[in-house]
Symmetry: C2
Subunit: 478 residues, 2 copies
């Protein structure tokens, strides 16, 4: 067997308090190296599985892995599994740490709560319970009545879905695209890898929002892009921070992840102008552009004058319907269309045929429009309830980024140990993300964005908002 066949299921435990969560997780993993449970060449556990096991967010695990990589304990192999580096065992035994001020952690009882959390405020998960069961079943029933794909190459793959998406995106996002210009992909990560490959971004610099979407950053990096963090503030990404050498920029203009800003109109125009001047590519991740509250809709970057020439628009069914569909879509600039298709083709990544057809019918029959209207009302009410709950229970927390999307940012008093708070909340049955987990490496650029909690409200019923806010208030200082 290859050298790293020795990978084991770890019984990893975190010290229950003291220091940022990513430091503590990194320390616990170094302890695992020190004791020889994992050695050079072994793969670290899957981030999702470890997050689930420890009852923490996947972003926290990614941050810890990044920290270990920066300190040389581990390295990513081609952007996929993270593997223990040669000599990491020696370094661990010698007491080397991945961060300043580490205390050797005692391996103590796990933080993972015995029961699943009572309040899930993790951002990025839609309430799929809002989908009308009859509509959902009808769409799948129709799709299952179609002839079954035998895999023979087609010159018009997923035609029905591309047609439905063209109509939907034009109506809801102002994005004008021919069905032939839309490329389905099995997820945003696959879409971003294909775009990076198609646009020749390997070895070139991609400006990436910081703090920003960790999975997007990883997907682009795994395709060889060199990530350069750029500033984000209350108006979103700052175009003046873009540099001449940037071959592309990744942005979430509808609702910046994680700060929640909507990119201002002036900045939208500046961004398009910069991309046209510099012949750069704008990757617009419109991941939750469908939801906004009390504010005027801003057009997608792609829909602006000159946009289609420089903007690769990326959307997904994960937030508006279900991540289990594994369906995203790309509208690349016309010149990149063939190359994007080729990149997905070469890696043999495509969406399921029945799934694509079911989604097409869900859209075509008007079910998605109905669902989005109902979901927007529900999310608006849950957002109101959480904001009201926090204002009452924890008036010291400043709330921002709540104009759109499915999460808000609750700023904590300066000096709060954000990760310790997240851990305490987990112990109280409340799952939430800290803002620091979305920063690149150990620090964000620009105005310090934290400490803060990133609170998703999509899964929090109004009736639970006051209780959740009270738990947050009880655990928070000030």
């Amino acid at each position: 067997m290859p050298r790293n066949a020795r990978v084991v299921e770890l019984n990893l435990a975190l010290a229950p308090a003291g220091g940022p969560l990513r430091h503590r997780l990194a320390d616990a993993l170094i302890e695992v190296l020190r004791t020889g449970q994992l050695g050079p060449g072994d793969a670290l556990p899957a981030t999702r599985a470890l997050a689930a096991e420890l009852g923490i967010s996947r972003n926290a695990v990614l941050a810890a892995y990044d920290e270990l990589a920066a300190a040389g304990f581990v390295h990513a192999t081609g952007g996929s599994a993270t593997v223990v580096a040669d000599g990491a065992d020696v370094a661990a035994r010698a007491g080397v740490s991945s961060h300043i001020g580490a205390a050797r952690p005692a391996v103590q009882s796990s933080l993972a709560p015995d029961a699943p959390p009572r309040w899930i405020l993790l951002p990025g998960y839609p309430d799929t319970g809002l989908i009308a069961p009859g509509d959902w079943r009808a769409a799948w029933r129709a799709a299952a009545g179609e002839p079954v794909s035998n895999g023979l190459p087609s010159s018009q793959p997923h035609a029905r879905l591309r047609e439905a998406l063209a109509i939907q995106l034009r109506r809801t996002r102002g994005v004008a695209a021919d069905p032939a210009g839309i490329v389905p992909a099995p997820g945003v990560s696959a879409a971003l890898r294909a775009l990076a490959t198609a646009a020749g971004l390997r070895g070139r610099t991609v400006a990436f929002e910081d703090p920003g979407y960790p999975e997007g950053r990883r997907a682009l990096a795994s395709a060889g892009a060199v990530i350069r963090p750029v500033r984000v503030d209350e108006d979103g990404l700052d175009p003046s921070a873009l540099a001449r050498g940037d071959a592309a920029v990744y942005t979430t203009p509808a609702h910046q992840y994680p700060l929640g800003a909507r990119l201002s109109a002036a900045r939208r125009a500046a961004l398009i102008g910069w991309a046209r001047r510099e012949s750069a590519l704008v990757i617009e991740d419109d991941y939750d552009g469908e939801f906004r509250y009390d504010v005027r809709g801003l057009p997608a970057l792609h829909s602006m004058p000159g946009g289609p020439d420089v903007v690769a628009y990326v959307g997904t069914a994960s937030k508006i319907l279900s991540p289990g569909l594994r369906v995203a879509w790309i509208i690349p600039p016309a010149g990149l269309l063939a190359a994007v298709r080729a990149a997905l083709d070469e890696s043999d990544e495509s969406i399921g045929t029945v799934t694509g057809d079911a989604l097409a019918r869900f859209i075509g029959a008007g079910y998605l429009t109905r669902h989005l209207a109902r979901a927007a009302r529900t999310y608006a009410a849950r957002r109101e309830a959480l904001i009201a709950g926090l204002r009452t229970a924890a008036p010291g927390l400043r709330i921002s980024g709540a104009a759109a999307g499915l999460h808000l940012v609750a700023a904590l008093p300066a000096g709060t140990d954000e990760d310790a708070l997240v851990a305490r909340l987990a112990g109280c049955g409340l799952a939430v993300d800290g803002l620091g987990q979305s920063c690149l490496g150990q620090s964000c650029l620009g105005p310090p964005p934290g400490p803060a909690l990133v609170c998703g409200y999509a899964l929090l019923p109004e009736s639970q908002a006051a209780a959740a806010a009270a738990v947050i208030a009880d655990c928070s200082p000030g």
Copy 2:
């Protein structure tokens, strides 16, 4: 825009006769470079799309791309899109060829038939028309009635599918695996990439059957494995050709692709013994192990004594049901399990939740067993009919590799121009693969395996067998 944004949809045309198909396609692509339709940094078209457009097999396109890469005209970027190399335009204008004896092709009228082929003998496509519509619909209906996934991490993802697969694989393939040891993946390519990453095969040598499965080779290479071709004969892969430095070996023991051999019992034991001695990994691609005719079943390598320690078993729903499901599965050695999960997790590759559930129900309700029995009878009859037709119409063709799977090999008289024949047959409305398209680069190792046709019979009704055989006979010499 990045430099290769200039990619265009090509109107590529092949010279209608003369020389192997891959040479002619390579020549046509060089002509495209010469005329400046594509330049350095541009991506070549998607292989599937080009194959569909030209009415040839994807393997032929892959072979032509390999040839251009070997000659330095193009290079693969990170294993995905194939991109024109710097200086390729200059070389093309200077008359450099990718192979010996090339004549400058005139860009002539396309070979692509106006109508779809009347007889599809392309290997690797199942007849999805054999699926009982009621069973199919019932499985999807049941799956669509389940709660919709919201994407929250689960410690038991796809539990129902893994349980169904464990039972099915034990019964039909003798593979003993705990449901917890089965990892679903969205396709065999994704499965092979995850295995290569998990087993640390980047930069290491993987022995690969030659001739062999082109997509499998590409998937492993894209994950960084160094492919070393090994001999294949009528008994399958020759274990004596394995070398000390091989970290892994890829094999299709149930029905070697493309030669159709079943790996002999002696060789199976030798292969397991070698892997145990050398601490190497055996990647068993059981892609059509469910179908066999007039012969005793041979156990999967994974089911042999010592097998589970060294064999990573890979299966797929693509051949037994539909490639549109995008569902494959991996049973890695226990020591690689966590790393395989981690690799898929990091690249965010997972199967659709409704699809996984529908497949689980299709298996669990007994529909798959019923379908496989019916399909095996139909395929057996189609195989008989095609063999009888070929024996009558073209007695000079030697038939082999027909004991299992969904294709056979019809050896052509020595000296036959295999690719020219494939092109002539395409012109007559018959789509089939040449054996040479599965060879690594421009030549296969071991006993020369060609010229020959690789004839899939899954899509050829018995009533059409005689007519198809007559077309082959009319076009074939001798």
